[in-house]
C-alpha cells in the first residue's frame, strides 16, 4: 500500500458523526406496502414514464425509460400495482413525479438480464450497454448516468479509473459499510468499468478512517489490477477534482471534466451496482442508506429500495428521540434540507439525517471579519470572503473574475466561518444568475 495522499486546503469537521453508524452493519429493510419511485435525475433529463395507472408490474420491470443519452432507466423495486402517478416532494427541494406502487407482497421478479459471470469475454460496448440497461447512476451525489461518464469522447485519452470511496461527508457511512461488507462487488465493478475504459490503472480511493473497509478491499483486490489508495481524512476529499489530484497528482483544468485529466471517477456504490448488473443481471433498485443524526433513536445503515418514503426509513431506525429541527437527504455539508417526511429515497440518496433543533437552527450571521479561514480551506483556491462581498455588492462581474463559477459548493468555507456567513448560498445565487446571463 502506498503513501496516504490528499489535496491542499480543505478541513476536517470538529465532529464528524461517523461513530454513530460506522460499525452498524447493513440491515436489509423489510418489504413495504407502498413505494414512491421518483422520476428524477439531478443531472440530465428525467426518464420517460412507460407504465400507467392500474398496470400490474413485476419486480425489476422497466417503469421509466431513459430520455436521450444523458438520462437513465428506472425499474420497479418490487412487484405490485401502479396505483397512482403523482407529484411528491422531491429530494432536491422541487416536486417530482413519482410512480406510486402498491406492493403485492410476493416481491416477485426474475433478473431481466442474463447473468454474465464470464464478463471478461464481453466487449466494452456490451458492458456499457448493460450499465445503461440497468439504470446505474452516480450514487454519491449528482446522480449522473454512469454510462455517460464511461463514454469517453473520441478526442480524450483516459488512462485511469478511480472508484470514489472517500466518503468525506460527515455522518455518512453507507459507502464505508458497503466496501467493508461487499468488497468483492466494489472491486469487480471497478474491474468491469476498467475493461470498458480499457485502462490498467484502477484505483479505489478511500479515507484512512475506514480501516476495516481498507482491509476488506485489500483482500478482495489482491491479485487484480485494482489498487487501494488510502487518503487523508480531509473534507472534501471525495470531490472529483480533489480526489483525482490526490490519487494521480493531476489537476482537472478549471471548467473541465475528469476526462481532461485522463480520468474517470465512479462512486463505490455505483461500482457495486455495476457488479450486480453484470454478474447477476439485475437493475439498480436498491441502495445502502445511512439513517443517522442525533435525533434518530437507533442510527444505522439500511439497504433501502428506491422509492422508500423517508418516514419508513426513520421507522426502521427506531423513530426519533426528540423533535428534529432539520431533515437532510445526503450529508450535512452538501445535502438538501427537506420539508416533508414523504420524500422518497432516490438513487443518489446516501443518507437520511435528522439533526436536532439545537444544532440545525443557527441562522444568526454577523459581518465578515476577514479572518481568512475560508481562504485557507477552499479546495478550489478561491477567495470566498471577497467573492461573497462582491456578490453582496451586486458586482457579479467581480465574482465571475474571481472564478465563482469554479466553486464546488462543498461548504467548507461556510462551515469554518466564525461569522456564519451564508457563503455557499450567495455563490449558488451568483452562479445561477451568471448562467442565465450567458
Amino acid at each position: 500500500m502506498s503513501k496516504v495522499k490528499s489535496f491542499s486546503g480543505g478541513m476536517h469537521p470538529e465532529y464528524d458523526g461517523k461513530s454513530l453508524t460506522n460499525s452498524c452493519g447493513i440491515i436489509e429493510a423489510p418489504l413495504l406496502e407502498k413505494y414512491l419511485v421518483p422520476l428524477m435525475e439531478n443531472a440530465g433529463k428525467p426518464p420517460r414514464l412507460c407504465v400507467a395507472k392500474g398496470d400490474k408490474i413485476k419486480k425489476y420491470q422497466l417503469i421509466a425509460e431513459a430520455d436521450g443519452f444523458v438520462s437513465a432507466h428506472l425499474h420497479a423495486p418490487t412487484s405490485g400495482v401502479v396505483v397512482q402517478i403523482r407529484e411528491v416532494p422531491g429530494p432536491m427541494g422541487t416536486p417530482v413525479t413519482a410512480v406510486e406502487i402498491e406492493a403485492d407482497g410476493y416481491d416477485h421478479g426474475e433478473a431481466p438480464f442474463a447473468p454474465w459471470e464470464e464478463w471478461h469475454s464481453k466487449t466494452p460496448q456490451e458492458l456499457l450497454g448493460r450499465i445503461r440497461d440497468t439504470g446505474i447512476v452516480g450514487m454519491g451525489g449528482a446522480a449522473f448516468p454512469s454510462h455517460v461518464k464511461l463514454s469517453v469522447p473520441p478526442d480524450k485519452k483516459v488512462d485511469t479509473l478511480i472508484v470514489n470511496g472517500a466518503e468525506c461527508e460527515p455522518y455518512l457511512t453507507a459507502d464505508h459499510r458497503l466496501m467493508a461488507e461487499y468488497p468483492q462487488k466494489v472491486v469487480t465493478g471497478a474491474l468491469i468499468m476498467g475493461q470498458i475504459l480499457n485502462v490498467s490503472r484502477i484505483f479505489i480511493g478511500i479515507e484512512e478512517n475506514k480501516p476495516d473497509a481498507i482491509a476488506a478491499l485489500g483482500n478482495a483486490a489482491a491479485g487484480t489490477a485494482v489498487q487501494i489508495q488510502v487518503l487523508k481524512v480531509r473534507y472534501p476529499q471525495g470531490a472529483e477534482k480533489q480526489l483525482i489530484y490526490a490519487v494521480t497528482g493531476r489537476r482537472v483544468p478549471t471548467g473541465g471534466l475528469p476526462f481532461d485529466a485522463g480520468c474517470v471517477v465512479q462512486n463505490a456504490g455505483s461500482a457495486a451496482a455495476v457488479s450486480d448488473g453484470v454478474l447477476l443481471g439485475i437493475p439498480l433498485v436498491e441502495r445502502v442508506v445511512t439513517v443517522s443524526g442525533e435525533a434518530v433513536k437507533n442510527p444505522g445503515n439500511f439497504k433501502l429500495r428506491i422509492g422508500t418514503p423517508v418516514i419508513e426509513a426513520v421507522k426502521l431506525a427506531g423513530g426519533v428521540t426528540e423533535e428534529p429541527g432539520k431533515l437532510i437527504l445526503g450529508g450535512p455539508m452538501m445535502g438538501f434540507a427537506q420539508r416533508s417526511f414523504d420524500v422518497p429515497v432516490a438513487k443518489n440518496t446516501s443518507g437520511i439525517l435528522l439533526l436536532p433543533g439545537r444544532t440545525a437552527l443557527n441562522f444568526s450571521s454577523s459581518p465578515c471579519i476577514r479572518c481568512a479561514r475560508c481562504v485557507e480551506v477552499c479546495p478550489m483556491k478561491l477567495t470566498p470572503c471577497l467573492l461573497c462581498a462582491a456578490i453582496e455588492g451586486n458586482r457579479l462581474d467581480l465574482a465571475q473574475k474571481g472564478h465563482v463559477m469554479d466553486c464546488l459548493e462543498c461548504g467548507a468555507c461556510a462551515y469554518v466561518c466564525p461569522s456564519r456567513r451564508p457563503l455557499v448560498q450567495q455563490f449558488r445565487r451568483a452562479k445561477n444568475e451568471l448562467r442565465k446571463k450567458k
Binding site: P13, K241, G319, G325, Q338, A360, R370, G402, H403
Partner: protein, 381 residues
C-alpha cells in the same frame, strides 16, 4: 412492518423542519471566541506592563477598556443597534486592550477616554461596525492622540529597574532629573525613550557636512545601542508604552496567536524581517544616521505592532501573498519614518498607511484557482 411495532415508535411530525441551504453544520468557532483568544494572547504583555510600570499601568488598562465598552454601548444606543451583539463579540475589549498597551503608563486619564471614543466611534462604528472598518481602530486612536495630545502621549515614566545605576542613566534622565533619581525620589520622574534619544541625535546630523556632529551622533548611537542596554531593552526595562517594552511577553503572545491560528505568520515575519533588513542596510552604509537593526527591533512599538496591530483580521489582506506584501510594506515604512521622519516612532503610521492599501493588495493577490494553470496550458496547445 407490522403495526404494533410502529405504534411504539415515536415519529417526527415535520412541522418544525427548517429549510436552508447547505452546509447544515458549522464549526463552533465564533467571533466572540476569536476575540477571547486574542485577549488571552494580550495578557502576557499586559501583565509585563503592570509589573514594569506599576499599578498605574493597570489603571490605564482598566480605564481604556471600560471607556471602549462605554463608547460601544453609547454608539449602539444612539444608532439604534442591538447592544448585545455589538458588545457580545468582545471586539471593544480587544480594541481597548491594544490601545491601552500603546499608551504611556503616566498618561492622564482623560487621554484613554478620548482615545476610546476615537477608536470605537471614528475608527470603527462610523464605517458600520466590526468588519467594515478599513483601519485598525486602536491604531487610529493612537495616531489621533499622538497628533492631538503630543505632550500627554510622551509622558514617559521609568519602569521598575530603571534607576541611577541604569546604563547611560544621565543620558536618559537628563542632568536635572538625574539628581532626583539619585535621591530616590522616583515619583513623577520622566525620562526619554531610546527612540526619542535616537531621533534627537539624528536631527543634529541633518545639519550637513559637519564631521564633528556626525562623529558625535555616531557616538550617541553607540551609547543607546550598547549590548548592555539592548539586554535591558529586551527584558522590557526601558521607558515606553505599557505593553510594548517586554519582548518575551510579546513573543509569548505571538506563540498563543499562532497556536490558536489567529494570525498569518507571514505578517509579523515580513514586518519584523523587512524592518530589520532595511534598518541594517541603512546602518551599514550610513552608520552616522541610525543605530543598528537590533536597536530598531527592541525599541519602540515594532514588536507589538507586528504581532498585535498589523495582523488585525479586519484590516489586513486575506491571501498569503497579500500578507507578505502587507508585512513588508509595514516594515519598510516604519523604518523610513523612524530614520527620516519627524516622529521618533513610525509603526502606527506604517500600519495605517498599509491598511489603506489592503483592498488594492487583496485585488492584486488573488490566487489562481485549482486547475487554472492547466486550463491555460490547454488553451495554448
Amino acid at each position: 412492518m407490522s403495526d404494533n411495532i410502529s405504534e411504539n415508535i415515536k415519529l417526527p411530525t415535520g412541522e418544525k423542519l427548517v429549510l436552508s441551504s447547505s452546509p447544515h453544520v458549522s464549526a463552533s468557532e465564533s467571533v466572540r471566541k476569536i476575540m477571547l483568544k486574542v485577549i488571552a494572547a494580550l495578557l502576557p504583555a499586559a501583565a509585563a506592563g503592570i509589573w514594569l510600570f506599576g499599578l498605574r499601568a493597570l489603571a490605564v488598562i482598566l480605564v481604556t477598556v471600560v471607556s471602549c465598552v462605554a463608547a460601544e454601548t453609547l454608539w449602539c444606543r444612539l444608532a439604534g443597534k442591538r447592544i448585545g451583539s455589538a458588545l457580545g463579540d468582545l471586539s471593544a475589549v480587544v480594541t481597548g486592550m491594544i490601545l491601552a498597551l500603546n499608551l504611556p503608563a503616566a498618561v492622564p486619564f482623560y487621554v484613554p477616554v478620548i482615545g476610546a471614543f476615537l477608536a470605537i466611534w471614528l475608527g470603527k462604528q462610523v464605517f458600520g461596525g466590526l468588519g467594515h472598518n478599513p483601519f485598525n481602530p486602536a491604531v487610529v486612536a493612537r495616531v489621533g492622540l499622538l497628533i492631538a495630545l503630543p505632550a500627554a502621549m510622551t509622558l514617559w515614566s521609568p519602569p521598575r529597574g530603571m534607576d541611577k545605576n541604569y546604563p547611560q542613566a544621565e543620558y536618559f534622565f537628563g542632568s536635572a532629573m538625574m539628581k532626583k533619581v539619585a535621591a530616590g525620589e522616583l515619583d513623577g520622574i520622566t525620562c526619554a525613550t531610546p527612540l526619542g534619544l535616537m531621533t534627537d541625535t539624528r536631527k543634529i546630523v541633518h545639519t550637513p557636512n559637519d564631521r564633528h556632529l556626525i562623529a558625535a551622533a555616531r557616538h550617541n548611537f553607540d551609547k543607546v545601542s550598547s549590548p548592555e542596554l539592548l539586554k535591558k531593552y529586551f527584558w522590557g526595562v526601558r521607558s515606553g508604552c505599557i505593553g510594548e517594552t517586554c519582548t518575551p511577553a510579546l513573543l509569548l503572545g505571538l506563540v498563543i496567536l499562532l497556536c490558536f491560528k489567529l494570525i498569518n505568520w507571514r505578517v509579523p515575519l515580513c514586518f519584523i524581517g523587512s524592518a530589520a533588513l532595511f534598518a541594517g542596510v541603512i546602518h551599514w552604509f550610513f552608520p552616522g544616521v541610525t543605530p543598528p537593526a537590533l536597536f530598531h527591533l527592541l525599541t519602540g512599538g515594532l514588536l507589538i505592532g507586528a504581532i498585535f496591530m498589523a495582523k488585525d483580521m479586519v484590516t489586513s489582506p486575506v491571501t498569503n501573498w497579500g500578507c507578505v506584501i502587507f508585512g513588508m510594506g509595514c516594515g519598510l515604512i516604519t523604518v523610513v519614518i523612524r530614520i527620516w521622519g519627524n516622529y521618533p516612532e513610525g509603526v502606527s503610521f506604517a500600519i495605517l498607511l498599509m491598511n489603506a492599501l489592503v483592498p488594492l493588495i487583496d485585488r492584486l493577490c488573488t490566487r489562481a484557482p485549482f486547475g487554472e494553470k492547466e486550463r491555460k496550458k490547454e488553451q495554448i496547445s
